[in-house]
């Protein structure tokens, strides 16, 4: 029997899941990934690997996932539709499964104009929801887009993202419903700083019964400094950092701001833990992976549950 997704096991066995994000390096060195994997091992259930995030060229998500897998972690392969057409996407889905990768997160991706290849042609042959649907059909029916049969279906736990803080607000939950209907099984959200708005969104999610259709992991990003909080609030599209968070960060001495950022992250996780309809957290510590164990411990989420993987 081939290994299953650890994330899936943790969630189906009714545990509060913890995932973390790992950004691959801008170079070919596998050791960077191994090191990040070492830090996270044992503290999280699965590790997401970003796919050329913000349109910046990095070591491929697929390769990094394969490396993490060798290190004994359960990787979540992020795949964006920005860079690959349906031929390449479906081929990589098969490839990922053959490498023992058991989780996939389907996204549209940041627009190429934000990255370091702004002259690149944005592919966007299919969108994230069409991609989710395609992967689900590949897995459950063994069929690719167009209906041709696969000799062996991929084995993947299928995820998607949601941003409760973007507009139009009331449509956000409709879109989540579409992702669930397309076949997503777990959802990782945009980083949460505005808990009030998030709570309002999750209420809408519950009203539609979507929390019983998909597992929802709330996104958490520890702030490193007041400057980062201000930058995210102003410059990063789709991010909602309310003033009270910014002033709280500003209120402490710069040398203690990291500590404060960690405290906010831990408090957010505690709040999410007791929020009905939330099934876990996804910690995105940007270029700060080594803080994850501390956050997990302080949030009382360590040790992680043992699931039978084989």
């Amino acid at each position: 029997m081939k290994a299953e997704s650890n994330l899936k096991n943790v969630l189906t066995q009714h545990n509060f899941a913890v995932t973390a994000e790992c950004g691959p390096p801008k170079g070919a060195d596998p050791v960077v990934i191994q090191k990040k994997g070492d830090i996270l091992k044992g503290y999280v259930d699965s590790v997401n690997v970003t796919d050329n995030q913000t349109g910046v060229v990095r070591l491929s998500s697929m390769a990094a996932c394969a490396i993490l897998r060798q290190e004994g972690l359960d990787p979540v392969l992020q795949m964006v539709t920005r860079d690959r057409n349906r031929i390449a996407l479906q081929s990589d889905v098969l490839g990922a499964s053959s490498l023992g990768i058991r989780n996939i997160l389907c996204l549209s991706g940041d627009h190429q104009s934000f990255g370091n290849q702004p002259q690149a042609k944005g592919v966007f042959d299919i969108d994230s929801i069409q991609f989710i649907q395609a992967v689900r059909r590949m897995r459950d029916e063994g069929l690719i887009i167009g209906g041709e049969k696969l000799s062996e279906p991929p084995r993947l736990f299928i995820g998607a993202v949601a941003n409760p803080f973007a507009d139009p607000f009331d449509y956000r939950v409709v879109r989540l419903g579409k992702k669930a209907a397309a076949g997503a099984e777990f959802i990782q959200t945009q980083c949460i700083y505005n808990l009030k708005r998030f709570a309002e969104w999750i209420r809408q999610v519950r009203d539609r019964g979507l929390d019983r259709k998909v597992y929802i992991l709330g996104g958490v990003t520890p702030l490193k400094s007041a400057r980062m909080a201000e930058y995210m609030s102003r410059q990063v599209a789709g991010m909602d950092v309310p003033d009270n968070i910014i002033s709280r960060m500003k209120g402490v001495d710069p040398k203690d701001q990291r500590r404060e950022g960690i405290a906010i992250a831990v408090e957010t996780i505690m709040a999410l833990k007791y929020m009905e309809g939330v099934h876990g957290v996804h910690i995105m510590a940007i270029e700060w992976e080594d803080v994850v164990p501390q956050i997990v411990e302080e949030a009382g989420l360590y040790p992680r549950p043992e699931t039978s993987r084989e």
């Binding site: 549209s108 944005g122 994230s128 929801i129 069409q130 139009p168 879109r175």
Partner: protein, 224 residues
């Protein structure tokens, strides 16, 4: 209409460098409407080229002609008599116009003066916006008359990305988020059912064809 913008003069000059007698040809249709290749623009460009040559001590001859459409042979025919007297045709037509002229006069080099930009509408005078990519399979009926292929920066068919904020697109805050418009308009038209439906992958073969696409209409063709 097809919109276009004039190339920088330096680029046009570089292409024209080997030639002395220039036939500057405008088009009276789309590019005239968007003020890039009509009679006035032909006049401006020809005048600028003549003065430029004079400043540099070169002599050129730049003759101006504008025809109704550069993409239809019967109009291009009007150039036939003049073409032989010139070394080069500088076309202010759209890409289709330039190619049609080149097709009709294979012995005379044809160079483009414009960068053909998009299919769009005149939003207000002096403002043109792109709103169709000629995908060959118009989907506007499902999207409240707002094209997701063209007006959503990521071409999304199933709802707004996570960057839509206050009605603006995350990629270009000066452009409205197409999906904000689609959601609002479908809602107000009582078609929120379309907002819940999953729109399947597009058939891009209708846009890309097998190389250049063509339309054949037997009823419109002449017998010969």
């Amino acid at each position: 209409m097809i919109t276009a913008e004039r190339k920088p003069l330096a680029e046009i000059k570089a292409m024209l460098a080997p030639y002395r007698k220039i036939l500057v040809v405008g088009c009276g249709t789309c590019v005239a409407e968007c003020a890039s290749g009509g009679e006035k623009e032909v006049g401006l460009l020809a005048s600028a080229l003549r003065m430029d040559a004079q400043i540099e001590g070169r002599t050129i001859e730049a003759h101006e002609m504008t025809i109704d459409r550069q993409c239809v042979y019967e109009f291009i025919d009007k150039l036939t008599e003049a073409v032989g007297r010139y070394d080069v045709i500088l076309s202010l037509g759209c890409g289709a116009g330039v190619q049609a002229v080149a097709e009709v006069f294979p012995k005379t080099p044809v160079v483009p003066a414009l960068n053909t930009t998009f299919i769009g509408e005149t939003k207000e005078s002096g403002l043109w916006v792109e709103n169709c990519r000629a995908c060959g399979d118009c989907k506007l009926g499902y999207f409240a008359g707002v094209c997701p292929v063209t007006r959503c920066a990521k071409g999304l068919f199933n709802g707004p990305c996570g960057g839509s904020k206050n009605g603006a697109c995350e990629v270009d805050p000066d452009s409205p988020c197409a999906w904000q418009l689609i959601v609002e308009r479908l809602d107000s038209a009582g078609r929120s059912d379309l907002l819940e439906a999953i729109y399947p992958p597009a058939d891009w073969s209708k846009q890309q064809g097998k190389g250049p696409r063509k339309i054949v209409r037997e009823d419109q063709r002449s017998e010969s």
